[in-house]
């Protein structure tokens, strides 16, 4: 092989051809020269050694056989393009080694021109770039497999490197994207924010991030999608940023989901705000997390003002200790809170509320939140109170009516001991004024005055108790004694109407808790009812049997059985204005029921076997009374 044209050159350089050949073959690179038409004129020994071809095989267009078939066509095309332009060029392509393995090479070609500028020869080298190229391919593979758009930017914002996803998204080639300012694709609405944020990052070179925000980017087809941008700066040792690495994650779906949630939250909020109750969501420790608008309106505060608010300043001072104790109990035990109390409205007025707070638990049964609903029960409460007062007044009226009915008996009750007192007093005087005075007899008379006077006092006390309408009080009461007292009051009435009464009391009956006057009223009403029910009984004894005993469930059971006509409809007996009596208002038994309900007892009526009616009621025993 004898490269023509070189000789002159080397001669001019005063270098011998032999020396030149040695030199070219020694260079640790593949060196070649070609004619202006592109055919190989010379390849050095290293080139031949690498490819394992002979000079005859390689020269002219033979070298193309060593090029990887995938690269061959594009390499030749490129080669022709620079031959035509006469400009230097370079191209990467794989070249087969003597052992058949392909390695990446950088082909570089440079034209050699004569004095007129015409190309007389092309000289070039093939540099082994296989390691770098493989690393680059690996990197590309990594980049392209990242589920996001990746780009590196210069500090001035020009794109350096992008992955395939990025190219695909924007519909440009990797080459086209280089040097492109991505800001062009940012949604106009987001642009001011994006620019100002990025500028802020630039202005503070010491900032460590995180550098991230959400923005919309225009896709190739013109549609904007939401992305989450994360940026990481690469810095010089002096801290100045040399490169930005960007990762853009498509969050369109998440955004849409969030949007849906936001919409449903808004919907929920509207719903919660239109609930006619005060709704509150509390953290596990009881701090306010959310309140509905009615609550804010009621207290006249903003959610911000309620932050860290315990609410104790709006709870009525009388209710506060109970509420606090109940809430403390709920928090400690995780049980629901259920209490009625008063809350101060913005205008200072207190209204009654029914507060219910339920815990929300996670899978591990830990309380994560409390849901609180406060229902305004003020009107209800007032109605209840009015009803209670009406009932109370009605009971009182009934009491007075009963007393009026009993007035003859009461007068007798009082007059009886009084008559004895007066008679004894006269006797006493007569014994004293006798000649001689009979002092022993006078003393006896005087002693009886004292005894009967006390009796009269006792009668008056009992009747006062019947009349009195003190606030209901709860005291321990002996049921047997209570019944016996009422029966005693009715002794005359029963004698007059030929009614026999027998009492069967369990002597070990523990006390009950209740209001003496109300319970006397109850027993009195039931007994009067029993007595009246027997008015028409002529063919058999008129009897009332009273039983008082202990019933399971820690209650006293009292039964009043008469031998009257019996009830046709025992269930209706307790309805107000239901009366089987011609003159009855039908309030007596209704009042009995309201009294017993107030005492947490039960009251019922049943027809007795063998005629008559049995009225039964229970009263809870005083707590702490062991069974």
């Amino acid at each position: 092989m004898r490269p023509s044209g070189w000789q002159e050159t080397f001669e001019e350089a005063n270098v011998s051809e032999e020396h030149f050949r040695t030199l070219v073959d020694t260079i640790p690179a593949l060196v070649w020269s070609a004619r202006p038409d592109g055919s190989a004129e010379f390849v050095n020994q290293r080139w031949l050694d690498y490819t394992g071809l002979s000079a005859e095989q390689a020269l002219r267009w033979g070298w193309t056989a060593a090029i990887h078939s995938d690269d061959r066509r594009s390499l030749i095309e490129y080669w022709r393009s620079i031959l035509a332009s006469g400009e230097p060029g370079e191209f990467e392509a794989r070249m087969r080694r003597f052992d058949g393995e392909y390695r990446w090479f950088l082909f570089r070609g440079m034209p050699l021109r004569d004095a007129t500028g015409a190309v007389v020869k092309w000289c070039g080298t093939n540099a082994d770039i296989d390691d770098r190229k493989r690393a680059e391919i690996d990197l590309r593979r990594v980049l392209d497999s990242i589920p996001g758009l990746v780009a590196t930017n210069t500090p001035t914002g020009e794109t350096e490197l992008v992955n395939r996803q990025m190219a695909q998204y924007f519909g440009r080639t990797v080459e086209e994207l280089k040097g492109w300012r991505t800001l062009d694709a940012v949604h106009p609405d987001d642009l001011p924010f994006v620019v100002s944020t990025i500028e802020a990052w630039m202005r503070s070179p010491g900032a460590t991030g995180p550098f991230e925000f959400d923005l919309r980017l225009r896709r190739d087809d013109g549609i904007y999608r939401w992305f989450h941008l994360r940026a990481l700066p690469e810095r010089e040792t002096d801290g100045s940023v040399v490169r930005w690495y960007h990762l853009l994650t498509d969050i369109e779906q998440r955004r849409q989901a969030e949007e849906t949630i936001r919409a449903s939250e808004l919907d929920l909020r509207l719903t919660v705000n239109s609930i006619p109750a005060l709704v509150n969501i509390l953290t596990a420790s009881g701090e306010i997390e959310f309140t509905n608008q009615p609550l804010l309106d009621y207290f006249g505060r903003t959610l911000v003002e309620l932050h860290g608010w315990a609410g104790s300043d709006v709870i009525h001072s009388e209710d506060l200790p109970t509420v606090m104790a109940a809430w403390k109990h709920s928090v400690e035990t995780g049980t629901p809170f259920d209490l009625q109390h008063r809350l101060r409205r913005a205008d200072g007025l207190y209204r009654w509320f029914h507060g219910r707070i339920l815990p929300l638990r996670d899978q591990d049964d830990r309380i994560i939140r409390w849901y609180s609903v406060l229902t305004d029960v003020d009107d209800l409460k007032r109605a209840e109170e009015a009803l209670r007062q009406t009932q109370s007044r009605l009971a009182q009226a009934a009491q007075i009516a009963t007393v009026a009915e009993l007035s003859a008996s009461i007068a007798h009750e009082v007059n009886q001991p009084l008559a004895a007192v007066v008679a004894n007093a006269h006797a006493c005087l007569r014994w004293l004024s006798a000649e001689p005075p009979n002092l022993a007899k006078a003393v006896e008379s005087a002693e009886r005055i004292i005894r009967d006077g006390k009796d009269a006092g006792e009668v008056v006390r009992r009747i006062r108790a019947l009349f009195s309408r003190a606030e209901a009080e709860r005291v321990a009461l002996d049921v047997n004694e209570l019944i016996a007292e009422v029966v005693h009051l009715l002794d005359r009435e029963m004698a007059k109407r030929h009614v026999g009464v027998s009492m069967h009391f369990a002597m070990d009956l523990p006390p009950v808790v209740g209001d003496r006057v109300q319970l006397q009223q109850l027993v009195l009403n039931l007994l009067l009812n029993a007595i009246e029910s027997m008015d028409s009984v002529l063919d058999r004894p008129r009897t009332i049997d009273i039983h008082a005993k202990r019933r399971s469930g820690n209650a006293a059971l009292i039964e009043i059985r008469d031998s009257g006509a019996g009830l046709r409809d025992p269930d209706r007996a307790f309805e107000a204005f239901f009366s089987t009596k011609e003159n009855g208002m039908g309030m007596g038994l209704a009042i009995c029921r309201s009294i017993i309900e107030e005492h947490n007892g039960e009251l019922w009526a049943a027809s007795s076997q063998g005629g008559g009616t049995t009225f039964s009621f229970t009263l809870p025993l005083k707590t702490g009374t062991a069974p």
Partner: protein, 205 residues
């Protein structure tokens, strides 16, 4: 009080009242017997002396008014006492012949006046009753024929008129008349007429 000593019966179911009245009446020097129930009083063997009954209107077994009806004319005069003092009962009681109607509590003078009135009434009634018994005893001594003659005599008929009326002789009527005057212990015709009136002897037409 004069004459036979009177006894006061008290019926009241209230022991306090019984004790007090017993004491009071004793202090007045009266004999008192007390009962807790009407039945006890009815069964009691009563002495043959002037008496009065102090009766409680409201009794457990039978009421005072019922007892009053039961006793009727045979019982002693009644002084009612009541703890009720209701008007209707008192009207009934008074109409049925009660002496007095006292509302508890009452004063000793009121009671004493009522008892004295009742006893006086009983004494008079007893007096009246004992005279009639005496007259009847005399009347029982008369023969049937003399009982036939008596109405004519006390009606002012002459012996002759009576004899023709009865179909006998004037002499026989004269004998009967003498026997009647003697057996009846009548000192004059006028006295015999009063006796016949008390005995309720009917005059001939």
């Amino acid at each position: 009080m004069n004459g036979e000593s009177a006894v006061v019966f008290v019926v009241d179911d209230d022991s306090r009242v019984r004790e007090a009245l017993s004491d009071l009446l004793s202090s007045m020097g009266l004999r008192v017997v007390v009962f807790g129930a009407a039945q006890d009083f009815l069964e009691y063997e009563k002495p043959d002396t002037p008496a009065c009954l102090v009766l409680d209107l409201e009794l457990p077994d039978i009421s005072g008014l019922e007892l009053q009806q039961e006793l009727a004319a045979n019982g002693p005069p009644i002084v009612f006492i009541t703890g009720h003092g209701d008007v209707r009962s008192s009207v009934h009681a008074m109409k049925a012949g009660a002496i007095e109607f006292l509302s508890k509590p009452f004063g000793d003078e009121e009671l004493l006046r009522a008892i004295e009135a009742a006893v006086a009434l009983d004494r008079a009634a007893r007096q009246k009753r004992s005279e009639l018994v005496e007259l009847k005893r005399h009347y029982d001594l008369l023969t049937p024929r003399e009982r036939e003659v008596l109405p004519f005599v006390v009606s002012g008929f002459l012996n002759k008129q009576t004899a023709s009326g009865l179909g006998t002789s004037e002499i026989t009527i004269g004998v009967h008349r003498g026997q009647i005057m003697r057996k009846m212990s009548a000192r004059s015709l006028a006295e015999l007429v009063r006796m016949a009136d008390k005995l309720g002897i009917a005059r001939p037409e």
